[in-house]
């Protein structure tokens, strides 16, 4: 990675994170209808440490789970049952390709804020959160963890990261083999790739339970302020193209960008992927809450 250019000031403040976490908690927990005052997680037997109830012993039960006090009182083998854990594992995939660094790296700074806020909110709810930073390959990986100390680790990693100015491609598919076990995946990217990463999104969808896609866009990336003839250079592939800046060329680029967004949105709708387009000019809180609201009807 290149020299860090971001600092903690680029991350949301503690108060902003707490405020967002409170708002997001209502959208991230169980979505089933419930009566007022009900718990927000299912209480069911399973692997856990919280005691739930007792039942008669059955062949195959762990001997260490036999409650000897109840067995003596009821004069038959009784075993303890434990409350199953309702929290899930989340993995946040953050795009650090060179396309995120153009035009003042506005997209990268927005993605960092979105990733940090989402991590904080999930950790507040007791979920385990991991972080994968990808470009042409996995640039950095932080294993899943929980608790505020884990957010501190995520924040440190985000602060130290900076996308390369040129030459770093967008290969979302490289993250697939780093996803262990069932997990929810939250992708933050500009989705500027050959097929808008649709093929990689389909592959990831096979390896996770739910998939969220947050597209970061910047209106400046479809604006050319030079006049005359010049060459456009793709920061990821170094491909060149001769261009003549004529009237309406920016509108053509904006329409092309809108078409790309439409294509990936349609794909996500068909595949059950929660997709939201987020402009860097919008407040990150609005973008995330809008995405979580939309995700409740998709996932």
């Amino acid at each position: 990675m290149a020299t860090p250019i971001l600092n903690r000031a680029a991350l949301p403040s503690e108060s902003e994170l707490q405020s967002f976490a409170r708002a997001a908690s209502q959208l991230l927990i169980e979505r089933l209808p419930r009566t007022p005052g009900a718990r927000t997680v299912n209480r069911r037997a399973g692997v856990g440490i919280q005691h739930l109830d007792h039942r008669d012993y059955a062949a195959g039960d762990e001997v260490r789970h036999i409650d000897w006090r109840q067995t003596a009182r009821r004069r038959r083998p009784i075993v303890r049952r434990f409350e199953s854990e309702s929290v899930t594992d989340w993995t946040i995939l953050l795009d650090a390709s060179s396309s995120m660094a153009v035009h003042g790296a506005a997209k990268w700074r927005a993605a960092v804020r979105l990733g940090a806020a989402m991590s904080y909110a999930l950790l507040e709810l007791g979920h385990r959160v991991g972080l994968l930073v990808f470009g042409g390959h996995v640039l950095s990986e932080l294993p899943r963890g929980r608790g505020q100390h884990h957010y501190a680790a995520i924040a440190r990693l985000l602060v130290d990261l900076q996308p390369a100015r040129a030459g770093e491609r967008s290969e979302l598919g490289v993250c697939a083999r780093h996803l262990h076990g069932a997990a929810s995946v939250f992708i933050i990217s500009d989705f500027l790739a050959d097929d808008e990463m649709r093929r990689d999104l389909g592959a990831l969808l096979q390896r996770c339970t739910t998939l969220h896609a947050l597209q970061v866009t910047d209106s400046a990336e479809t604006e050319l302020r030079l006049t005359g003839d010049f060459d456009l250079v793709d920061v990821e592939t170094d491909a060149r193209m001769q261009t003549r800046a004529v009237k309406g060329v920016n509108a053509l680029a904006a329409s092309e960008r809108a078409a790309m967004t439409d294509r990936v949105r349609s794909f996500c709708a068909r595949s059950g992927i929660a997709f939201t387009d987020c402009d860097v000019a919008q407040p990150w809180q609005h973008s995330l809450l809008r995405h979580l609201i939309q995700a409740r009807s998709v996932c």
């Binding site: 793709d234 193209m241 001769q242 060329v249």
Partner: protein
């Protein structure tokens, strides 16, 4: 850069446009080179974008092989700058809306020759007026060749009268270079009798020559001079120069007339172009006039008058107390005449102490107020006395009868050692004082006293008393009235020249080039600013 009038056959002329140094126009070949240098390639500006496919609709590259890539539009601006500089270096000249014309008028004596309808000068000015009337927007300035630095303004009646009244008084010459700017037309009005008037400096030539004059016969008096007769100071030797300036043999009678009446008469026969000298000895007179008989078309050179006043003897009032040797030297001097002590109409006063202090007349004062004594030391002359005019003096034979002191402002004409002998006193009236003892026997033995008296009075009267010459000279060739061969050739060669004034467009084109250069600098600055905005905004914003 020499400016010249353009004609279609002149080199460096493109239609109405004229170039002083047309070779610079080869620099226009740089224009296609500049366009070639601005063709597409790696030197083009580059802009980094997040995804190239966003701009696929703005692709300006050739869809098919062989199509040429368009050059950078900036080539037009840079080619324009180059072209303007090249054209400016070539020195473009364009005919202006107003034609500035300087009319040079030959005001020599021959221009007063009577022709059929008046003098040559009057006829020529009439021709010039009609020719100038044919030039639209002509802005005319009149100058004479006799006094070129004095502009007479426009060609008005008053100007014509001034020119006619002053004609023949000054020797005309070709115009000076400083008065021949290239952005004006120069017309010459002359009769062509003086070929030197066509010898203009450098490559300059008259743009149009108006030649007048058909009369071809004239005999004129070019010069009359006189000096004292060496044997008889009461007579003057007169020398008259007569020239036949026409094209036919002539016979004339020369008559010398003084204040006392006709004194001499001489008959002459002159071939065309012949010049002869006539000698005469006349009694001393205030003036002498020589006349040719019969007269001809140029009456102004048929008579010449010489003022002989510079040759008259200066009257010197001599003090009776002066030494005899001193009075004898004054009396023997051919240019001095002694006068009585009380005379008032004198040119100088020789004061030896009897008159007292004389303040209102040019004076020589001989001071003797002590016992004469001999001098020791070397003779020293003032540096203002030329070496050839210094008198050899022997200090051994000289004595002084007073001691002179040189005061501030005085000048010492002669001294021996540190003893001033002749001192010029500062003041409104010239006064020379000397302490030489003219009564000394040793001094009387030598020839120094007459020479010293001559030197003192020459210095006192500011003139060379022994070799004065009075002269009236109209200049060689002043009697010529026929067109010289060289002048005729020049007039014929230049007569068909253009009648338009060329204006130098170098400065306006340089100003335009400067504006284009500023445009280029502004464009480069804007481009640099935008490039910086593209490349460096990320770091500056995040920090």
């Amino acid at each position: 850069m020499a400016a010249f009038a353009a004609s279609p056959s002149d080199p460096g002329t493109i239609g109405l446009l004229t170039f002083v140094t047309p070779a610079w126009l080869l620099g226009l070949l740089l224009v296609p080179v500049i366009r070639w240098l601005h063709r597409g390639g790696r030197h083009r500006r580059t802009v980094s974008v997040s995804r190239l496919s966003l701009w696929r609709l703005a692709d300006a590259s050739s869809p098919s092989a062989g199509e040429r890539r368009p050059p950078d539009p900036a080539w037009r601006r840079r080619a324009l700058l180059t072209a303007l500089l090249v054209v400016a270096l070539a020195g473009p000249r364009l005919p202006g809306p107003h034609t500035d014309i300087t009319l040079w008028i030959d005001d020599s004596l021959s221009m007063l020759t009577r022709e059929e309808h008046g003098t040559r000068l009057a006829e020529g000015l009439a021709q010039a007026r009609s020719s100038l009337a044919e030039v639209p927007g002509a802005n005319v300035e009149v100058r004479t060749l006799g006094d070129p630095w004095h502009s007479l303004g426009v060609l008005s009646e008053a100007t014509v009268a001034t020119i006619v009244s002053d004609a023949g008084r000054k020797q005309p010459n070709a115009p000076p270079t400083a008065l021949l700017p290239g952005d004006r037309l120069h017309w010459l009005l002359t009769d062509g009798a003086d070929a030197t008037l066509f010898d203009w400096p450098g490559e300059s030539r008259p743009d149009r020559t108006i030649q007048v004059g058909k009369v071809a016969r004239n005999v004129g008096l070019e010069r009359l001079s006189a000096r004292r007769n060496l044997n008889d100071p009461e007579h003057f030797d007169v020398l008259l120069k007569v020239a036949n300036g026409g094209s036919a043999p002539e016979t004339r009678v020369v008559v010398f007339v003084t204040d006392a009446g006709e004194f001499a008469r001489s008959s002459l026969h002159l071939e065309p172009g012949e010049v002869t000298l006539v000698n005469a000895s006349i009694p001393a007179s205030a003036r002498v006039r020589a006349t040719l008989q019969p007269g001809d078309a140029l009456a102004e050179d048929d008579e010449i008058v010489l003022d002989l006043d510079p040759l008259r003897r200066r009257r010197v009032a001599t003090d009776a107390k002066c030494a005899a040797a001193l009075k004898a030297a004054v009396a023997a001097h051919p240019a001095l005449a002694g006068a009585s002590e009380g005379a008032t109409d004198v040119d100088a006063v020789l004061d030896c102490g009897a008159r007292g202090a004389v303040r209102d007349a040019v004076s020589v004062r001989v001071i003797a107020n002590r016992t004469p004594k001999r001098l020791y030391g070397s003779v020293q002359w003032s540096s203002s006395v030329p070496e050839s005019r210094r008198i050899r003096l022997d200090p051994e034979r000289m004595q002084v009868a007073a001691r002179l002191e040189a005061r501030p402002g005085d000048f010492v004409l002669l001294s021996v050692g540190d003893e001033p002998l002749i001192v010029g006193r500062a003041g409104a009236t010239k006064l020379l004082e000397t302490s030489l003892d003219f009564d000394s026997e040793d001094t009387l033995r030598g020839p120094e006293i007459p020479l010293l008296v001559n030197l003192i009075f020459e210095r006192l009267l500011d003139s060379h008393l022994l070799d004065e010459i009075a002269i009236t000279d109209r200049g060689a060739g002043s009697a010529n009235v026929v067109l010289s061969t060289r002048a005729g050739a020049n007039a014929v060669a230049r007569a068909p020249s253009a009648t338009r004034s060329l204006h130098d467009w170098t400065k306006p084109i340089l100003v335009a080039a400067l504006l284009v250069l500023l445009w280029e600098l502004v464009a480069l600055a804007r481009q640099g600013f935008r490039s910086f905005d593209y490349r460096g905004a990320d770091s500056s914003e995040s920090r």
